[in-house]
């Protein structure tokens, strides 16, 4: 019971009344503004449009009560929508009853996984994904989303299991494009793009505050949707010009549908649910942290997961579509002045009222306009800057990013992210197996040691100071041995080798044995092996190893201690080997 009480949100216990008006207003603004994207992402996921409205009700309340972020808003989001579509569309016809059931199962499974991760405090598992891999995944998915919307913007039929098949199908059918649909879609794209790019700035220049400018800009999708719908109704464009519209929307509220997923769907959906959970976890925690930093608060990753997982489980039973922490939802929420999750609760109740009042208003909304708003949102997710920054900082990370993005496009979401994880692990191992090793010397007059190639330093003839900048493990001992061999060939009169272990954080069993071999090998040539700057945890282990007993030289506290001990010997002639 105490554990449950701990999960209760702090914000309810100490809610300041002064915040109430702000949260109320923010909640109402959010509700109105997110209607178009809720419909759009449900369609993107291959589900009936009202699903997007339904999951904007109870899952939002669940997250508000259990999550730890003050201003993050959950709901249908682009990435989880496209993931749902790409996972399920090869299995079933989008929109069919079985497809809808599978989407609900997917939401339940990934929600249960996220909840379990949160309760078991396994939030750190989201570390499996590096930022470049996440960025590549999101950018790749965004391109997929853009491609998937072309058929709606052109008003043609096109389908395909893979990206290439879809593009080819579009190419084959492009001659049947409907001009009025294209016009509506094109105008919507133009208006939305310029409102996203220029409006906040332009409104700022005429004196509006940043917050109001953001809200007005975010209002544009709703205005475009309303205008387009009115035009369709006025000129009967859907019946006379074949402009595709949302069509029959289930009227009123849905009822809760509780179910247990079948064994078959468990088999089909476990891997996709794991990927969905992983991506959802990472995106949610990253965004919650970014939002919290702005408010100088901290988020607890594990209660974030409890909130997100529960929201998805609730979504499975009411609406049947996975939800996530939405970038644009949260931005609207913050801009509208939300101070606590109460804003989300208000928004959920308002959405409940809207849905109850009637959804037939949406039935003649042209799909091309929703497609345009999806495309604009998706373009906003493509992060070229992340690639440029990774490229200038670390080529391997940039390649992992690019590989993940292209992998998502060419191989699909699952193989794409697997490729990304594989690339980042391979980079990690490759780096660790080619350690930086430096011959070092003392900067005259100090106790500091630096690379002899980078700095003018003192050295002792016959003594080699070698600093290994890597933990020693089975994968990089060849490199160490071969570098040592090279240095031994360079200096024929070597008497002492000092390994500076300041960068060695671990020495595994293989490394300990190879060091013992090296020690024996050097001893047979009358060269002593010393260790210096051995870290506490490394020494704790080595002290009981055969290496410690057999070591021909000494263990020195620091490179400087070794330098002082070995220097005087250099002035007297070295003793010959015993006969």
């Amino acid at each position: 019971m105490n554990a449950l009480r701990q999960l209760l949100p702090r914000w309810i216990k100490a809610y300041p009344r002064t915040q109430f008006t702000g949260d109320l207003l923010a909640g109402l603004i959010v509700t109105v503004l997110v209607i178009p994207q809720s419909l759009a992402y449900a369609l993107l996921a291959g589900l009936p449009p009202q699903a997007g409205l339904y999951v904007s009700i109870f899952p939002v309340i669940a997250y508000a009560l259990l999550g730890s972020s003050m201003t993050q808003a959950v709901g249908p989001v682009a990435i989880t929508a496209i993931m749902t579509f790409t996972v399920l569309s090869p299995l079933e016809t989008p929109g069919s009853p079985h497809y809808i059931a599978l989407a609900a199962s997917l939401s339940l499974l990934s929600g249960a996984l996220i909840l379990a991760f949160g309760l078991l405090r396994l939030g750190f598992l989201s570390q499996l994904l590096s930022r470049p891999v996440i960025s590549g995944f999101i950018s790749g998915s965004a391109v997929l989303i853009v491609i998937s919307q072309f058929k709606l913007l052109l008003g043609v039929n096109a389908s395909g299991a893979t990206t290439w098949q879809l593009i080819y199908s579009l190419y084959e059918n492009v001659s049947q494009a409907r001009p009025i649909t294209m016009l509506i879609g094109g105008v919507a794209l133009l208006v939305l793009y310029s409102s996203r790019m220029w409006m906040p700035k332009a409104l700022g220049r005429i004196g509006l505050s940043r917050q109001k400018a953001v809200i007005l800009a975010r209002l544009m999708p709703l205005l475009v949707v309303v205008a387009a719908t009115l035009m369709v109704v006025e000129f009967d464009l859907d019946r006379t010009q074949g402009v595709a519209v949302v069509g029959r929307v289930q009227e009123g509220l849905a009822s809760f549908t509780f179910f247990i997923p079948s064994l078959d769907s468990l088999k089909l959906l476990t891997v996709p649910a794991m990927i969905l959970a992983l991506i959802g976890m990472v995106q949610n925690i990253t965004m919650a942290q970014a939002l919290a930093i702005k408010r100088r608060e901290r988020v607890d990753a594990n209660s974030e997961l409890v909130g997100l997982g529960t929201a998805n489980i609730v979504a499975a039973f009411y609406g049947g579509m996975p939800v996530g922490g939405g970038l644009s939802r949260s931005a609207i929420n913050v801009a509208a002045g939300a101070q606590s999750p109460l804003a989300s609760i208000v928004s959920a109740i308002a959405m409940l009222c809207i849905v109850a009042a009637g959804t037939h208003w949406f039935s003649r909304l042209p799909l091309a306009v929703l497609a345009a708003s999806i495309v604009i949102a998706a373009i906003g997710l493509i992060d070229i800057k992340a690639f440029r920054q990774a490229w200038s900082y670390d080529r391997a990370d940039a390649l992992a990013l690019l590989g993940t993005g292209l992998g998502v496009l060419v191989l699909g979401l699952e193989l794409g992210i697997a490729l990304g994880i594989g690339l980042s692990l391979a980079t990690l191992l490759l780096r660790a197996s080619t350690p930086h090793i430096a011959v070092i010397g003392r900067i005259a007059g100090t106790e500091h040691f630096r690379n002899v190639d980078r700095h003018g330093v003192e050295t002792i003839p016959g003594v080699l100071f070698l600093r290994i900048d890597e933990s020693l493990f089975f994968g990089n001992l060849n490199a160490v041995e071969s570098r040592l061999g090279t240095e031994l060939e360079k200096a024929a009169d070597l008497r002492d080798v000092v390994l500076i272990m300041s960068g060695v954080n671990r020495v595994d069993t293989t490394a300990m044995e190879v060091l013992s071999d090296i020690n024996r090998d050097l001893a047979s040539r009358n060269i002593r092996l010393h260790l210096a700057e051995v870290k506490g945890p490394v020494q704790d282990r080595l002290i009981y190893s055969p290496l410690w007993k057999a070591l021909s030289g000494d263990v020195h506290l620091s490179a400087n201690c070794a330098f002082e001990v070995l220097r005087p010997l250099a002035s007297v002639p070295a003793p010959g080997p015993p006969d």
Copy 2:
């Protein structure tokens, strides 16, 4: 052409005549002594016994000419024999013509792989296997070998694709065990075991040199084989008592059989050949290095691989059985006084003569005796000490060893080694993602910094010195952030955080971004972030990153420099945050 000339062995160019008698004698001794194990390992591999003799001829010459080890002897070995059997016996009936053809293809494929690795200088790939994994693999295989020989020692029929099936089959048929066969096998086991364990010591005590004692001990298998064969012939045990014998052995020399493996066998054998190649490479290089260290020589891993690869290709065409660097062969070779690969060439020629003279001598050799010699050799490969040492040094490595060994027994050779590699990589990642982080302070009167928990050290109030003993990458940033959070909570009046980067060998893109986040987060609390002891290669990258520009504190050459700079400020009151 120059490349080929470089591959020619140095030892031929500068062969000292004085070595000739020694090499000649050693070669002859080796030939006689390895006959029983050559027959035994061929049978272990599921091949006709003479295959073991054939591959002791031309492959040995190929290795002698191309390898780099002076005293290593190649030939049929226990590990490759059991690998051949376990890989091929599920595909075909051992001993059948197709089985024999598959064994030759396996030898060809793994030889070609090893040769390619050597020519492409990819010998470092053998680093994929840590010593505990290799040790676990060999011990597990050795237990498999022992189990596989029980049926011959008992004289019963037993078969099974998996270890458990084999054991169950043995259990079912144990009532049909033949007493005379068991007697012969038991006596052979006893004699061979005591000769291996006690003879060298006992002979040493009565004044024999170590070398002679080893050779006499190694002579025992041959004596046991001869004695057992004579007994079978004398008492007609094979015909009257059902004692299983080698049976018809192909008379005289084989001819070379050149072939190109079929596409089907390529498909079946590629993965097994890769594992065979990997294990062969590792075992060969490890043993060649151990032998070379004793002679104060160096081996070149890549020419070792060229030698071993060519030997296996030749073995594919003459004898048709994979070969490797043999532990007991090499031991005999060294003990017999071999100084150069000429000893191996002599041994190959002698074997050629023996085979040409007639192999019918071996046809009435009882299998139980060969099984006994295999069991004794296999028991010698089970390395309990390696497990004990790993356990006392590093539990995770010990578990990888145990996992590999049990994996080999329970899941088979391929999955066993895959499990081992998986376990060692997982250990590596797990260790790297739980870095050692220490709050450090200065040892009074020195410039040395140590863990505040381990040593009595000076600290500065309001300044936190945190040393991270691990490269920073996407997998361990949560740990760093959470430790930093804990330390921030402990010290409410913190003004400066100094990250000591002496153990940080790399900072990947994710880590650079997270450090930037931490910097921003700390700045918002009026805490400055400093870096100290940043390594050259790390600094080279960071200098162009957003972190470098945004860093709220300074970059110090050493922890001591940071200490000196930050100390004076502590005596004056800290300035309040700007209003």
